[in-house]
Amino acid sequence: MSYFYILPGPFRTGFGITGDHERREKDYTGAWGGVARFSYLFEGTSTHVKRLENIIKIQNRDMLWKIDEWETEWLDNKWTPEQLLEFVQELVTERHLKVTQIR
């Protein structure tokens, strides 16, 4: 199983995919020196989870926070985790993505 997560970062809302969401939360905690916890978590096969991430990163690139030409996995323009959640839920429904919200 793979996971798509939404996390409230210290500066902006982030997202990503992982095969081990507990480990990934610890990675964030270690990196920014504060307890990181994913607000929302989706579970599914790797292909559907990866596609979900790609739709955000490729088709909706204007949502991403960019440093010069580098497109990060953080959202620009004050997106909140709840707004991203709503966006993801709509995508999942519209495109029949086989991912399930587990948190």
Partner: protein, 377 residues
């Protein structure tokens, strides 16, 4: 069981109005506007700030000069330029294709104080031009030595400079025209200029097929990449028109909400050729079933393509003992093998099944689990 394709609500394709090949009227932009575009680019601003910070001022006299020069004053350094390709010269001068309006300015280095211009480029052009004049083919011109050509030159004694200039003119450091721009030139030649050139018309016909099915070729550097219906895989336009149409229609029928993944072209071409050779009709039902697999198991072609790549690597290592080069015919093969494994009843041409017959053993475990669950049930 084969997953049933589920309709995705069709939204108006934004590319319909943003398609860069749609225009039928010429559009001219002033140099000032182009400069403004560059000057607002962050990287450019940073560079200029660096120039200013370092106090760098460029000598305007270093810019190249232009002059009409008699052919007799042109020389070619054999240690800088390539050998003369007489066949190439003959081809350029072919009847029906040679047009003197396409002749280019000659790039030279001039020895200071001497009326000697060493051509860094275009030796073929000047050689064939001299020879055409010598053959009496240019009206009113007899002595090639006295004919003047436009020369862009800089004065220097440095041969190493000439060498570098030659490399730059011949590609290094020059922005090459992409395959998309080549296609655009042909399409625009028909749309704007009404060209009847067969090459232009062929490109135009393919463009029309794409647009009919909401498919849009875009440049690899385009901001439109990723938008529904766009593709950068320009080899697709080399497909036979019927296959191109079938591929575009498949995309528009089932995956209109996605950008086009390169695997589409290989998949449809291989299916079409294999079914055609075996004289088996590709039915809409079959295509819908394939779309169901692609959507249900892979969320579209992009992830399917990635999964086939991974399976192909593992299959190659297992079969041959080392990593074999990518074989794009694996795309169609994996799909039809999966189709059969899921209980599909359409007759499949055997060559499609035989080529990678064990490759399904190497697909990702979570995909395998999906059809193994079905088999167990």
């Amino acid at each position: 069981m084969i997953p049933v394709y589920q309709d995705v609500v069709r939204k108006p394709n934004v590319m319909e109005n943003r398609n860069p090949l749609q225009q039928s009227k010429s559009r001219v932009i002033s140099l000032a506007d182009r400069m403004k575009e560059l000057q607002t680019y962050k990287g450019w601003k940073k560079l200029i700030a660096e120039y200013q910070e370092k106090g760098i001022i460029i000598d305007p006299k270093l810019r190249p000069l232009i002059k009409m020069v008699k052919l007799k004053f042109l020389f070619i350094d054999e240690d800088i330029q390539r050998a003369l390709d007489v066949k190439h010269c003959t081809n350029i001068a072919s009847i029906g294709t040679f047009d003197p309006r396409y002749l280019q300015v000659i790039y030279c280095t001039k020895l200071p104080g001497k009326e000697e211009y060493h051509a860094n480029d275009a030796q073929h052009t000047v050689t064939l031009l001299g020879a055409l004049i010598d053959a009496g083919l240019f009206a009113g011109e007899a002595d090639w030595r006295e004919i003047e050509v436009p020369v862009l030159y800089i004065e220097t004694t440095s041969k190493s400079f000439a060498r570098k200039a030659f490399a730059i003119i011949n590609g290094k450091g020059k922005k090459k025209i992409s395959a998309w721009y080549e296609h655009r030139t042909k399409v625009m030649s028909v749309r704007i200029d009404g060209s009847n050139d067969p090459d232009d018309k062929e490109a135009f016909d393919k463009q029309v097929i794409c647009e009919t099915y909401n498919c849009y070729p875009v440049d690899k550097e385009s901001d439109f990449i990723g938008l529904p219906g766009t593709f950068t895989h320009m080899q697709a336009l080399g497909l036979d028109n019927d296959i191109l149409k079938m591929a575009c229609k498949f995309h528009n029928d089932y995956f209109h909400y996605d950008e086009i993944n390169g695997s589409l072209w290989f998949m449809i071409e291989d299916l079409s050729k294999a079914f055609g050779a075996a004289k088996i009709k590709i039915t809409n039902k079959f295509l819908s079933e394939l779309a169901g697999i692609l959507q249900g198991y892979f969320a579209g072609l992009a992830q399917f393509h990635d999964a086939v790549h991974r399976a192909h690597i593992a299959w190659g290592i297992h079969t041959y003992g080392y990593k074999v080069g990518w074989q794009d015919d694996a795309i169609a093969s994996v799909l039809v093998l999966l189709y059969q494994r899921l209980g599909g009843t359409q007759r499949i041409p055997k060559p499609l099944l035989d080529r990678f017959d064990t490759i399904l053993d190497f697909v990702d475990d979570d995909i395998k689990a999906l059809y193994e669950e079905v088999e167990t049930a």
